[in-house]
């Protein structure tokens, strides 16, 4: 009996909103958590700036080849006439800056630095994003399973994380990169180097994200909505994918964004050490190695890849911090 009565009272409640809308005021609308986070994110100037830079970088990396074609920038074209062979440095001031070569040329072969920075961007971003995806995939699966099931599963996964964190990553990366021969996984040359870098970096960075996901899962598991779901007959996989995952997306997104710059730096470090991307392929780390050999003759060469790495890492970090503040304001 009460049901129809309640329905009419409910529609009566709805009327004031309709009246408001009729009076020319915008209707009061519910906002989802995503919309609220977006409003909060837009207020954070630094994060928005970081986001814009990141978008530009991604566009630059994705469109590297077309850009080079349109503006006639060849990263591997030698311009020996622009280099002074006696000084082993570009002719002219500021590392050979000119209208044709806005960032100058490299002191060894006179290659255009703008072209090489653009060429290096897609390598850096591809390795960093790829490695981050690998670590997010492994970290999220193992972290959620450990956090949700607990007990011996948690003990095994946690010890595994400790082992990986204690591993001398740099030594492992150097020896692995040096020992992988052409033809491994059916890949040769550049694709092989990129695949090895993604695998090595991604495989050793997952415990960081795994620990965060595990801790978040453990705290979510105790919330009553999980118990409510169980009391309706839900099993583990349903609870993990339908109840827990939507709550984990925000922290995963934030830490993935913060992991990308770390991986960019790591890729640069490996290339700098000569075990990453091999020349003549342009990469930011490789350019730094090159510049380090010639800093007395041409100091400016070092600033170009250095600034590229600096701006990229800073932009990703600002974006990640902004995302964290917007998506998870309590963790500030």
């Amino acid at each position: 009996m009460t049901a129809p009565i309640e329905t009419t009272s409910a529609s009566a409640e709805a009327q004031p909103e309709a009246v408001l809308a009729g009076a020319g005021r915008s209707q009061i609308e519910g906002r989802s958590l995503g919309q609220i986070a977006w409003t909060r994110f837009k207020r954070d100037k630094a994060a928005v700036a970081g986001g814009i830079v990141v978008v530009c970088l991604v566009l630059m990396a994705a469109l590297a080849k077309p850009i080079q074609a349109v503006f006639d920038l060849d990263p591997n074209k030698f311009n020996q006439d622009l280099v002074d062979p006696a000084l082993q440095a570009p002719k002219g001031p500021w590392g050979g800056m000119s209208w044709e070569h806005p960032l100058g040329v490299d002191p060894g072969f006179g290659r255009d630095l703008l072209a090489r920075v653009i060429e290096g961007s897609w390598v850096s971003l591809l390795v960093a994003v790829g490695a981050t995806l690998v670590s997010v995939l492994i970290g999220v699966i193992l972290g959620v399973v450990a956090g949700y099931y607990g007990g011996w599963v948690d003990s095994v996964v946690s010890r595994l994380m400790d082992t990986f964190l204690a591993f001398p990553l740099l030594l492992f990366a150097i020896s692995l990169s040096a020992s992988v021969q052409d033809g491994f996984w059916g890949l040769t040359g550049l694709p092989l180097r990129i695949a090895v870098l993604i695998f090595v970096i991604g495989f050793f960075a997952w415990p960081y994200i795994g620990r965060i996901v595990r801790a978040q899962t453990m705290s979510l598991r105790e919330r009553e909505f999980v118990e409510a779901s169980r009391s309706l007959g839900a099993r583990g996989p349903f609870i993990i994918f339908r109840e827990l995952m939507p709550n984990l997306v925000a922290p995963i997104l934030v830490y993935a964004t913060l992991l990308i710059p770390t991986n960019i730096l790591f890729e640069a470090a490996l290339s700098f050490l000569g075990v990453g991307i091999a020349p003549p392929q342009a990469s930011w780390g490789g350019m730094l190695t090159d510049a380090a050999d010639r800093y007395e003759a041409d100091l400016q060469y070092m600033f170009v890849p250095g600034l590229a790495i600096f701006i990229t890492v800073l932009a990703f970090n600002l974006l990640g911090d902004g995302l964290r503040d917007a998506l998870d304001p309590r963790s500030k």
């Binding site: 329905t7 409910a10 009553e224 007959g233 939507p246």
Partner: protein, 375 residues
């Protein structure tokens, strides 16, 4: 089972004296305490330690007790969110004590739960429509007219605007959220609803609304409730029968009227005397008769011997320390576990020497100096 037959004939005032909907016998839940590298069990928290009761079709059983007495654990045991250590749970004559998750699944339709905290019992990332529609999806039920229509009907049933289907939990107040939780629990038309502190997280004015909603829904849908609470006024308002728990045991189980008018267990009496009195003229006399319990609830890891209440009871004697009192029927459908009950003949009249070190009559609060109790 002859005991039960006599019990049933005595309960003439009960709403329906048919087969009980839920039958609990000697239910035990011990949480092991593990220590060290080898995770050896060094002890156990005896959260629920042998309780027996029936819930009859259509009635409301109130379960009351102070924090940590095991009432929430009891609620999670009868909904089988926890695995009992011992004892037996029967739902509609079917033994569900040790059913696996899969075997329990079809029964979940009939036994539902309302949770305490309306802020943590709704997934913040799901819309109200998803939350209230989850029971249909999980049980593979396609209701008449589709899930969306059923959800909107449920929302209006609990007094919410059905147009708020697409909103998120954070857009609602605590009372509204609790209504959403109730709508979810009622989605599959359960037989038994276990409400674990359904109103203790709400403002007092909202508590009344939610309690009355539960009452109306019971009349309308013929629900059976087990309502767990620590608030005696809420329990008094909603319950037909009341079980009082202390340290994992039921100490008194009776119909509402007799329990509030003639409490037999000293613990029940102390609890009732502690209910705040809003009327300032009556407050003085209420304060004069207030019984202040000394000390804390003992640890459920090593509960006291004999009667578990003897460490805080002003009537305790030697027998209380040595022998555990059984839960016996001292008046029609009024069961109590006490050697020296109030409002009933003493069970061990020979033992009169108060236990050394127990708070005797001084447990009663001395009236405040500014107002003498009216003669």
């Amino acid at each position: 089972m002859s005991d039960d037959a006599t019990d049933l004939t005595k309960r003439t005032d009960a709403p329906a004296t048919t087969e009980p909907l839920l039958k609990v016998e000697g239910l035990v839940k011990h949480f092991p305490i593990k220590k060290g590298v080898l995770q050896r069990t060094v002890g156990a928290v005896q959260a629920v330690d042998g309780i027996s009761f029936d819930v009859r079709q259509g009635e409301t059983l109130g379960v009351v007790g102070e924090s940590g007495c095991g009432k929430s654990t009891m609620g999670r045991l009868i909904t089988r969110l926890l695995e009992p250590t011992g004892g037996r749970i029967e739902f509609e004559g079917k033994d569900i004590t040790h059913l696996s998750v899969g075997e329990m699944r079809p029964l979940r339709k009939d036994v539902q739960m309302i949770f305490q905290d309306p802020y943590s019992s709704l997934n913040p990332r799901h819309t109200i429509g998803t939350i209230v529609g989850a029971p249909f999806r999980l049980q593979g039920v396609t209701p008449e007219g589709g899930v969306k229509k059923s959800v909107q009907d449920l929302l209006s049933l609990v007094g919410l605007n059905p147009e708020h289907y697409n909103r998120y939990p954070h857009e609602f107040s605590g009372g509204q959220r609790q209504r959403i939780g109730i709508a979810r629990a009622l989605a599959l038309k359960p037989r038994l609803v276990v409400a674990d502190e359904p109103v203790s997280a709400l403002d007092v004015s909202i508590q009344a609304q939610v309690v009355n909603l539960l009452d109306d829904l019971q009349d309308e849908l013929g629900l059976t409730y087990v309502i767990i609470a620590h608030d005696l006024s809420v329990i008094r308002h909603v319950s037909d029968r009341i079980a009082v728990m202390y340290l994992g045991k039921i100490v008194e189980l009776a119909d509402r009227q007799p329990l509030y008018e003639r409490p037999m267990h000293p613990y029940t009496k102390a609890l009732l005397s502690a209910v705040p009195v809003p009327d300032p003229r009556r407050r003085q006399s209420a304060r004069a008769s207030r019984i202040l319990l000394r000390g804390d609830v003992p640890s459920p890891i090593s509960p006291p011997s004999g009667c578990r209440f003897h460490t805080r009871c002003w009537k305790a004697t030697a027998v209380c320390k040595s022998t555990e009192p059984p839960l016996v029927e001292l008046a029609p459908s009024h069961r109590v576990a006490c050697h020296h009950p109030e409002n009933a003949p003493d069970q061990v009249p020979t033992d009169t020497e108060p236990l050394a070190g127990t708070p005797a009559e001084d447990a009663r609060e001395v009236p405040a100096a500014d107002g003498a109790p009216p003669g």
